[in-house]
C-alpha cells in the first residue's frame, strides 16, 4: 500500500523527515519496503499485514504516525451538505450477513470531466490511474479513508430498487475492464430490477459505468462479507483496490462518513447536488471491551510501562480506556480494530508503540528434559560413516513423477500417494523410493563431466497403505569409475554392487548389527536383517537409465530402511575378552567354478571347522591367464585358535585337511 508524506500531513502534524518517519513506521510493524521522492512529495510503500485493514488508508497510517510521534490526529469533519430526503429507491438485501450495510446516495446534475491537477497527481503517486472526476473522487476516498466506494450512472439503472443478492446460474456481466464474466451462485452482485450492475466489492459493470455523458450518479458505500468477496475475486481472477480492502474487512463506522466525504468532494469539484440518501442494514456495531491487567503486561513483556504511558498509547491509537478495579483497565475497542479481542492483542499494541527495541533481553531458566531422539541420532551416525567412506550427501525433492517410478521396474509405480494440487507433472506423487532422485543427481553430475559419483540421501519415503506412512530411508547411488593414485600408479575402480555391499557391511559393523544377509531376488539383491527384508540394491535397468538420460554408464543404487535398522539396534553392547593364546593362520588357494557362490562355501566350512576354526575369510581372488575360463582363483584364510591353550601345527592339521577335502568334494574345487 502506498501513502504520501504530504497526504499524511493533512491528518497529522509531522515534524520529522520522511526517512526517519519510514524508520519509525517499520519499527512499529508498518514495514516501509520502499521510500521514493517524487514531485515534491515522498511515497511510502508499506507492507500491511493481513490483520490490519485499518492501515490500508491514509487516515489509518496517520493515526500510527500520531501515536509514534506523540502528535495529534486531525480527525476529518464529515459534514453533510443540505439535508437530503430519503428517496423512493428501495434497497433489498438478500442475506444481511453478506452485506451488513448498504448505502446509496443519489447526486444529480454532476458535471463529469477530467479531474483537477492536484487530484490526478495525488492518485498517480499512490499508483492509481485517473479516469474522470467522479471515479477519481471515489478512489481518492478509498485511499484516504479505506472505504471502497462505487459510482453508478443513475440514469442507466432501473430506479425502482437496488438488490444485493447472489448471482443466478447463467447470469453474465461485462465488467468495466470490458471482460464478459460468467457468474454463478457463489458471486454476490449488485443488481437493479432487471440485471446485474456490479460484482459486489470487486468491480462495477460496464452497463452502468460513469462516463463523460453521465448526468446523475448513485454513490454506493457498503460493507460486504470478506469471504464472499475473496472467493469471488479468486474465482474471477480479478483483484482490485476495493476487493483487497473488503476481503480484509472494512470499518462499518466509516461507510456513511466516506459517502459524505465523497459527496462533499463531488459538490466541490463536479458541481453536483445531493438528491437523496437511502441505507439498509446496521449503522452501528456494539463496542467491544477488553480488560488489560497492566501487571500482566509487564510480566509478559519483561518490562514495566508506566500506567499513564499505557493510557496515552492506547488513546492515541483510538482505544477508550477506563480505570477498573486494581490495576485492570477496561479498554473500549474502536470499530476499525476488529483484530483486537484479547489482552495479548493490547499488549502487542503497547509493545509496538513503546518500541520493541526498548524491551530488554533476558535469559529464561531452561529446564532441560532429555528426550531420546534415536532416529535423528541414527541418521547422523550413518551420515558420518558415509562421509568417511567418501560419499557426499544430497537432498532431492520428495515429489516425483509416476513415469520415472515405473521405469525402475520394482513395482514402485503401483500406488504412490498422489498430490491433489501439483504445480507440474514432476510433482504428481510423493516418492515411495529415493532412487529416482538419486538417479537424477547422478545424471546431472555425469553431465557435468564427473567420472565418478558416490552420493547418498537420508529422507522419508512415503507409502500409501490404509493411511499414509513415512519411512526414514537411506538411499545410495554409485556410478562411474573412480581413479585412485597409489604408489604403484593409477588404479581404476569401477563402481559395482560389491562397493554397495561393502558400504552396508561397514555401516552394520559400526552399528553392531550382525545377523544380516544379501540374497539375489531376480533383478535385485535384497538386504535382510534377522531374516526380515530391510532394503535392496540393484544395478539400474536400461529403461531407468534411459529415462534419466544416462548413457554408457552403469548406476548402482541401494535403499535401506533406517526405521527397520533402528528396530534391530541393540544397546547391550558387551566387551569380548581378547584371545589369550595366539592362533595359527593357514591359507587355502583353489580354483572354483564361476557359478558357485562363495557365500555357500563360507557357511559350510565354518560349520565343518568347529571348534578350532575361529575365523574364515576370502583374502584374494583373481581371474586371468593361469585360470581356465569359467573358473576363478580364490584364497581363503583360516584362523585356528583355542581359549584353552596355544595350538600346535599338528593339532590344526586334521581340521585343515578336512576343510580342503570338503572344498574338493562339495564344490569340485581344485587346490593350487
Amino acid at each position: 500500500m502506498k501513502v504520501t508524506y504530504n497526504w499524511l500531513k493533512e491528518f497529522v502534524e509531522i515534524k520529522i523527515p520522511a526517512k526517519e518517519l519510514a524508520q519509525k513506521l517499520t519499527m512499529a510493524g508498518l514495514e516501509v519496503v520502499a521510500l521514493e521522492e517524487q514531485a515534491g512529495d515522498f511515497i511510502f510503500e508499506i507492507e500491511v499485514t493481513s490483520n490490519r485493514p485499518d492501515w490500508l488508508s491514509v487516515l489509518g497510517v496517520a493515526r500510527e504516525v500520531a501515536a509514534l510521534t506523540r502528535s495529534k490526529l486531525k480527525t476529518p469533519n464529515f459534514k453533510p451538505g443540505a439535508r437530503v430526503a430519503k428517496g423512493r429507491l428501495k434497497i433489498e438485501i438478500e442475506h444481511k450477513k453478506e452485506c451488513p450495510l448498504y448505502t446509496a446516495r443519489v447526486i444529480s446534475s454532476v458535471r463529469v470531466g477530467p479531474s483537477p491537477e492536484w487530484l490526478r497527481k495525488r492518485l498517480e503517486l499512490v499508483g492509481c490511474r485517473s479516469v474522470n472526476n467522479i471515479v477519481d473522487i471515489t478512489n481518492y476516498v478509498l485511499f484516504e479513508l479505506g472505504e471502497p466506494l462505487h459510482a453508478f450512472d443513475w440514469d442507466k439503472l432501473n430506479p425502482e430498487k437496488i438488490i444485493v443478492r447472489r448471482a443466478r446460474p447463467g447470469e453474465k456481466i461485462t465488467t468495466i475492464d470490458e471482460e464478459v464474466r460468467n457468474l454463478d451462485s457463489s458471486a454476490l452482485i449488485i443488481a437493479d430490477k432487471d440485471r446485474p450492475v456490479a460484482i459486489a466489492g470487486v468491480m462495477g459493470g460496464k452497463n452502468s459505468e460513469v462516463g463523460f455523458g453521465t448526468r446523475n450518479i448513485l454513490l454506493e458505500a457498503a460493507v460486504f462479507d470478506p469471504l464472499i468477496v475473496r472467493r469471488c475475486r479468486q474465482a474471477l481472477g480479478l483483484q482490485s483496490e476495493s476487493s483487497y480492502r473488503f476481503e480484509r474487512g472494512v470499518d462499518l463506522d466509516m461507510v456513511t462518513k466516506a459517502s459524505l466525504r465523497a459527496a462533499q468532494l463531488i459538490r466541490e469539484y463536479c458541481s453536483g447536488e445531493e438528491a437523496s440518501f437511502n441505507s439498509s442494514g446496521l449503522t452501528k456495531l456494539k463496542v467491544k471491551s477488553v480488560k488489560l491487567d497492566t501487571d500482566r503486561a509487564a510480566r509478559v513483556l519483561g518490562v514495566g510501562i508506566a500506567r499513564l504511558k499505557i493510557k496515552q498509547i492506547l488513546s492515541q491509537l483510538g482505544f477508550k480506556t477506563k480505570q477498573g478495579p486494581k490495576k485492570v483497565l477496561a479498554v473500549g475497542i474502536p470499530s476499525f480494530r476488529q483484530d483486537v479481542n484479547l489482552e495479548e492483542d493490547l499488549i502487542e499494541e503497547l509493545a509496538r508503540i513503546f518500541g520493541y527495541a526498548r524491551i530488554p533481553a533476558s535469559l529464561p531458566a531452561v529446564k532441560p528434559c532429555v528426550t531420546r531422539k534415536e532416529k535423528r541420532d541414527l541418521a547422523c551416525a550413518v551420515k558420518k560413516i558415509l562421509v568417511g567412506l567418501g560419499l557426499s550427501e544430497v537432498i532431492t525433492y520428495s515429489l516425483t513423477d509416476k513415469a520415472t517410478l515405473s521405469s525402475l521396474g520394482l513395482g514402485f509405480g503401483a500406488q504412490p500417494i498422489e498430490i491433489m494440487n501439483p504445480l507440474s507433472q514432476e510433482q504428481e506423487v510423493l516418492r515411495p523410493t529415493l532412487i529416482p532422485g538419486l538417479g537424477r543427481a547422478v545424471a546431472l553430475n555425469f553431465n557435468q563431466k564427473q567420472e565418478y559419483v558416490a552420493i547418498f540421501e537420508i529422507a522419508n519415503v512415503f507409502l500409501g497403505e490404509n493411511k499414509p506412512k513415512e519411512e526414514l530411508t537411506l538411499g545410495i547411488a554409485l556410478g562411474g569409475t573412480r581413479t585412485i593414485l597409489l604408489e604403484q600408479g593409477v588404479v581404476k575402480d569401477e563402481a559395482g554392487l560389491l562397493n554397495l555391499k561393502g558400504i552396508v557391511e561397514t555401516i552394520f559393523a559400526r552399528l553392531g548389527i550382525r545377523d544380516y544377509a544379501f540374497n539375489h531376488q531376480g533383478s535385485y539383491v535384497e538386504i535382510r536383517i534377522q531374516n526380515e527384508q530391510a532394503g535392496l540394491m540393484l544395478n539400474l535397468k536400461p529403461q531407468a537409465l534411459n529415462k534419466l538420460n544416462i548413457k554408457n554408464k552403469n548406476v548402482f543404487a541401494l535403499e535401506l530402511s533406517l526405521d527397520k535398522v533402528l528396530s534391530f539396534l541393540r544397546r547391550d553392547k558387551k566387551f569380548i575378552p581378547l584371545p589369550r593364546y595366539p592362533g595359527i593362520t593357514r591359507d587355502i588357494s583353489f580354483i572354483l567354478k564361476d557359478d558357485l557362490s562363495v557365500q555357500q562355501i563360507l557357511v559350510l566350512l565354518k560349520e565343518k571347522g568347529r571348534p578350532l576354526l575361529s575365523e574364515i575369510s576370502i583374502t584374494d581372488y583373481y581371474q586371468g591367464k593361469q585360470i581356465p575360463a569359467g573358473y576363478r582363483g580364490l584364497t581363503l584364510s583360516c584362523l585356528y585358535s583355542s581359549d584353552a591353550r596355544t595350538l600346535t601345527e599338528n593339532e590344526v592339521q586334521p581340521t585343515h585337511e578336512l576343510l580342503c577335502a570338503a572344498l574338493i568334494r562339495e564344490f569340485a574345487a581344485k587346490l593350487r
Partner: protein, 337 residues
C-alpha cells in the same frame, strides 16, 4: 696372542667404523665362528691349569665389551637411517588418503542450529511431513477461511481428505504440547512444502527450524535474549539485531527479526536491498488461542516460538545466491561444504 693385545686392537678398529657393513665385518672378525675370540678360546686347553680360569674370564669380559660396542654402533646407525631400504619421496606429489565425502550444507546448518539450542537446554524433536489440517492450521489459530492461510499455501493429498504436506514445522508445536505438559524447550528441524513456482529464491520444498519454549513466566524479553544468543552464535558476535512487530496467527505479540547485513555491515548493499538489514526469522509469544486449543492454561503458562528457513540462513551465511543449487546436487557445489 694375549687378551690385552686383542682388546687394544678392538679399540683401534671401532674408531672410525661408520657403516652397518663395516660393523658386520667387525663383528665377524672378533665374534665369527673363526674370529679372534674363538681363537683365544681355543688356546685355553693348552694353558697351565691355574691360568685357565683367569684367561676364560678375560675372554668373557672381552666378549661382553664387543657385544656392547656393536649394540651401541647399531643404535647409532638405526637412528640415522630407517632400518630397511629407505625410500626417497617427492613431497610435492599428491598426498594419499581416503577421500572424504561431504555433508549437504543444509545438514550442516541444521546441525549447527540444533547444536546451539541443544547447548542451551532445548530438546530436538521431529515430526511427520504428512500432517492433518488441524495440526497445520486450526490448532495454530489459523482459521480455515482467513487470508492468512494464503501465506501458507499448501499441497493436499488426493486420496486422503484433510491430510496435507506440512507447510511449516509448527504442527510439531501442536503435537508436542498435546503430548507433553510444560515446561517445554524444543527445537524442530524438518522439510516443509508450499506450492511455489521454482526460481532463484523460491522452492516448493525447503527446510525450517522451529523452536518454542513454554513455562510459567516466559517473557517477550526472554525471546529476545535467546534469539540474540542464537544469532550471534551463527553469524558472529559483532552483528546487530532488531525486532520488528509483525503478524502471525499463532503468536501475539509477534516479531520479525532482522540482523545487520553481514555483507555490507549495515551500510546497504544489493544483498539486503539497500536496507542494511536482513530478515532471518519470525517469532513471538505463543497465542493464547493456541494454548486454549491444546488444553494448556494460558493464565498459568506463557511461551515463545520462532521459526526460520534454513535455506535462507545457509544462503546468507555462505553467500549462495540461488536456492535451486541446494536441490540440484552438483558435486562441484557440494564439495565446497
Amino acid at each position: 696372542m694375549d687378551i690385552k693385545a686383542v682388546s687394544a686392537q678392538i679399540d683401534a678398529d671401532i674408531q672410525g667404523l661408520n657403516s652397518p657393513e663395516a660393523l658386520e665385518q667387525f663383528r665377524l672378525k672378533y665374534l665369527g665362528r673363526k674370529g679372534l675370540l674363538a681363537e683365544l678360546t681355543s688356546t685355553i686347553p693348552g694353558l697351565p691349569k691355574e691360568e685357565r680360569a683367569g684367561f676364560g674370564q678375560g675372554v668373557n669380559t672381552l666378549k661382553n665389551k664387543l657385544l656392547n660396542l656393536i649394540e651401541e654402533k647399531q643404535k647409532i646407525f638405526s637412528g640415522s637411517c630407517a632400518g630397511a631400504a629407505q625410500a626417497t619421496c617427492d613431497i610435492g606429489m599428491p598426498g594419499m588418503a581416503q577421500e572424504l565425502g561431504h555433508l549437504h550444507p543444509i545438514t550442516r546448518i541444521t546441525d549447527e542450529i540444533c547444536a546451539i539450542f541443544s547447548r542451551m537446554g532445548f530438546s530436538i524433536v521431529e515430526g511427520p511431513e504428512i500432517e492433518s489440517e488441524y495440526n497445520n492450521f486450526t490448532g495454530l489459530n489459523i482459521p480455515l477461511e482467513h487470508p492468512s492461510r494464503e501465506a501458507f499455501d499448501t499441497f493436499y493429498l488426493k486420496d486422503y481428505p484433510k491430510l496435507l504436506l506440512r507447510s511449516h514445522t509448527s504442527p510439531v508445536q501442536v503435537r508436542q504440547m498435546q503430548e507433553q505438559k510444560p515446561p517445554l524447550a524444543i527445537v524442530v528441524p524438518g522439510r516443509v512444502y508450499r506450492p511455489d513456482a521454482v526460481d532463484a529464491s523460491h522452492s516448493f520444498m525447503f527446510h525450517q527450524v522451529e523452536g518454542f519454549m513454554v513455562d510459567r513466566e516466559i517473557k517477550f524479553s526472554d525471546l529476545k535474549g535467546i534469539l540474540e544468543m542464537f544469532a550471534k552464535a551463527v553469524f558472529g558476535s559483532e552483528i546487530k539485531m532488531r525486532f520488528r512487530p509483525h503478524f502471525f496467527p499463532f503468536t501475539e505479540p509477534s516479531a520479525e527479526v532482522d540482523i545487520s547485513c553481514i555483507i555490507c555491515k549495515g551500510k546497504g548493499c544489493s544483498v539486503c536491498g539497500r536496507k542494511g538489514w536482513l530478515e532471518i526469522l519470525g517469532s513471538g509469544m505463543i497465542h493464547p488461542n493456541v494454548f486454549k486449543q491444546l488444553g494448556i492454561d494460558a493464565k498459568k503458562y506463557t511461551g515463545f516460538a520462532f521459526g526460520m528457513g534454513i535455506e535462507r540462513i545457509a544462503m546468507l551465511k555462505y553467500g549462495i545466491n540461488d536456492i535451486r543449487l541446494f536441490f540440484e546436487n552438483d558435486l562441484r557445489f557440494l564439495r565446497q561444504f
